[in-house]
């Protein structure tokens, strides 16, 4: 469960000192229903308003599908991570880059809101995407 995420982050923070401490070079794995949902790491994490939100620098996450295969890899130089009851939300006015492991798309933009629980990502400015489109006359059986 996402409690592991909260617990890990909280544990990391508490292990370093008071809840308002800054944590550096952290990493943790988010598990839900016995499977890995995401692997997170970052540079500096600063708790914001308790242990449910963190301002994170050099944010990196790998998310995984239900079959365990890598799905998305995303990075943001600076963002805020909110822990929800069963997942997480990442938001920032800054940059985001996402690569889909199978090559279906790659995207970047500035200003984003990523609700992993709702599987919804909104990018507000300067969106650039590379989307895989079947070529005319190409193999359509795949």
């Amino acid at each position: 469960m996402v409690g592991l995420l909260g617990g890990l982050l909280a544990g990391i923070v508490l292990a370093q000192g008071p809840a308002t401490s800054v944590v550096r070079n952290w990493a943790f794995t988010l598990q839900k229903d016995g499977r890995t949902q995401g692997r997170f790491k970052g540079g500096v994490a600063t708790p914001v308003g308790g242990l449910r939100a963190f301002d994170v620098e050099d944010f990196h996450v790998d998310t995984f599908r239900a079959d365990g295969e890598l799905d998305l890899t995303a990075e943001s130089p600076a963002c805020r991570v909110y822990l929800t009851n069963d997942s997480f939300i990442v938001t920032s006015p800054g940059a985001l880059k996402v690569v889909q492991a199978e090559g279906r798309f790659e995207l970047s933009g500035e200003g984003f809101y990523w609700d992993q629980g709702a599987q919804r990502l909104v990018i507000s400015n300067r969106v650039k995407t590379l989307l895989a489109i079947p070529l005319p006359g190409g193999d359509r059986s795949k």
């Binding site: 790659e106 995407t129 895989a132």
Partner: protein, 173 residues
């Protein structure tokens, strides 16, 4: 940043379609992408598209692209290979709405001022269907086709004598 942006990991049998817009929303589970504002798609040598709103929908069974639905001031520019040694042929299409279906490679244009402009002429209609694979264009319902007169320059179809006086001719006073 460790993410290999534009690193060339896309599927080899697919075209890479760079899409730019002001705003976008992705359904990461269903795979649908919604682009809004100054949407531009540019597949070099194949396709350019500009519109105000673009929705990309995946196939449910394999999550590959199923359709593109473009609305608001849609302009599509398609480049096709010409005759050997000749320059590529550019076809431009305009409409309020364009739907591209990947499975049958058909673009359906609709709206008030729908038209397809090719070197041979312009086809106007309320709905124009362009088959990307064959290059054929057809319109349903009322349609008007304007052929380019250049097509008949060497055909002899409209070459005929006239009653106009020969150059330099005329009666003496």
């Amino acid at each position: 940043m460790a993410v290999g942006w534009m690193a060339g990991s896309l599927l080899a049998q697919d075209a890479r379609a760079p899409i730019e817009s002001d705003w976008a929303e992705m359904d990461l589970k269903g795979g649908a992408y919604h682009y809004v504002g100054n949407v531009r798609v540019n597949v070099p040598g194949l396709l350019k598209l500009t519109c105000g709103d673009l929705l990309a929908q995946p196939q449910k069974e394999n999550n590959r692209l199923e359709s593109l639905v473009a609305t608001t001031n849609v302009v599509i520019e398609i480049v096709r290979l010409g005759r050997p040694g000749a320059a590529p042929v550019v076809i431009r299409a305009y409409g309020d709405k364009a739907v591209y279906t990947a499975t049958n490679e058909v673009v359906t244009l609709s709206g008030g001022d729908t038209r397809v402009v090719a070197p041979q002429g312009t086809m106007r209609g309320t709905e124009v269907i362009y088959d990307v694979a064959t290059g054929r264009v057809r319109a349903t319902g009322h349609q008007v086709t304007e052929l380019n007169p250049e097509m008949f320059r060497t055909s002899g179809l409209f070459r005929r004598t006239t009653n106009a006086p020969a150059a330099g001719g005329g009666s003496k006073p």
